[in-house]
Symmetry: C2
Subunit: 66 residues, 2 copies
């Protein structure tokens, strides 16, 4: 499993945490959101999903991966 920590702008509440975690989960990966830290720790199988695809899924929810 690969791991990465993304800086994500725009998450403001528990609904946002759920939206990000669900979007990443839908790709078969795992996200753990640090809301005050504006970070998302992701764990994923590189042979199944790319980090770019994960970033895109988060951005599709309306947040900026910076």
């Amino acid at each position: 499993m690969s791991q990465a920590i993304l800086n994500v702008e725009g998450m403001s509440c528990g609904h946002c945490v759920s939206a990000v975690e669900k979007a990443v989960k839908n790709l078969g990966a795992v996200a753990r959101v640090d809301l005050p830290g504006k970070k998302v720790a992701v764990e994923y199988d590189e042979s199944a999903v790319s980090l770019d695809a994960i970033k895109e899924a988060i951005e599709d929810q309306g947040y900026d991966v910076v």
Copy 2:
């Protein structure tokens, strides 16, 4: 129809707007959220639902009606 404007603390994003509007709608009333103004305008039929019930539904979503 009766109308009221509530001051609501804790709403931070579009998800929060949806949560509040849906909770009020479930009572058969209508809510319009002013996110930056921290206000919720409600329109309801007093013979069907009380303003207290509407306030409670909003608080049940995790927000403070002040």
